[in-house]
Amino acid sequence: MLVDDVDLAIVKELQKNGRSSNREVARVLGVSEGTIRQRLKKLEAAKAMRLGLVTDATALGQTAAAYVRIKARPRHARAIAAKIADFPSCSFVGLTVGRFDIVAFISATSRDELVRVVDAEIAVMEGVLQLDVREPVGYAKHRFDLIHIP
């Protein structure tokens, strides 16, 4: 579904502060509290939006991360991506076309833990042919208001 202007205005308010109450959002937008409640219900039911907690990676000790790019046997690629998606350490994984078949982003509380996930959990999966592990050294931008809601 596509969102309309009222939906977008509500989303915008909740991007500034997702903990604003429906009453506060209603007051800012000049609509009724019931409208806010209904719109949010509709957006969440349609899996168009969710309210999410985002914590600072550094403050929470998530000091290690990597893009893990995988070449895999074609018939195993989807199953490998699904298995990686189950890892709490994985925030993104998808099938890709190009040089790789799967790309995942993995975070960990230490480099040792990152190495363990890559070596002991991903590299050993059936169908994994080759891993290309790339480590971030800094982030110039990281939008956290777009996601995929399954």
Partner: protein, 165 residues
């Protein structure tokens, strides 16, 4: 009174951790509800949440399904850089609207950007007319995501980060 430091290395304590755990499950839970659950006063919960927000430890935000936001294409692009500082190129990439993240890497490629686009023509425009036009961008390699198994953002660098607009 608690002092509110704007220190990026500020770490949550054990009580903060319990509040974060609850907020992870129910981001809009009221301070009153959280207080009842954690045997704390509403005021104590609210002030801890405010302090964590002020320190840049947490944010509760509306997160849009990228398709609902009008995008249909997601890609990760390796950006090779020549004759210019990597962080200058990264900074310029950050200012492009359809660029979702810009990550500077150890070794090659020096930068990986995540982009979203409405369709393949829009992706082509983004690459050819915007990304490739940045001075210092030597070469790009696009990895098109054809199926997203998981994309959720519960953790980010909250300090350099900003929302659009």
């Amino acid at each position: 009174m608690r002092s509110v430091a704007t220190n990026s290395t500020a770490r949550p304590d054990a009580i903060d951790e319990r509040i974060l755990e609850e907020l992870r499950m129910e981001p809009r839970a009221t301070s009153k509800a959280l207080g009842l659950k954690l045997s704390m006063t509403e005021v104590a919960v609210a002030s801890r949440i405010r302090a964590m927000e002020a320190k840049g430890i947490l944010r509760v935000v509306a997160q849009l399904e990228f398709r609902a936001a009008g995008y249909n294409i997601l890609a990760l692009i390796d950006v090779m850089v020549a004759d210019r500082k990597i962080n200058e190129v990264a900074e310029a990439l950050s200012r492009i609207d359809r660029v979702g993240s810009v990550t500077m890497m150890l070794g090659d490629p020096p930068i990986i950007v995540q982009v979203q686009a409405a369709d393949s023509a829009d992706l082509h425009d983004l690459i050819v007319n915007h990304i490739a036009m940045i001075p210092g961008v030597e070469q790009v390699e696009t990895n098109l995501i054809i199926d997203i198994a998981k994309w959720r953002t519960g953790s980010a660098q909250l300090h350099p980060t900003s929302l659009p607009g």
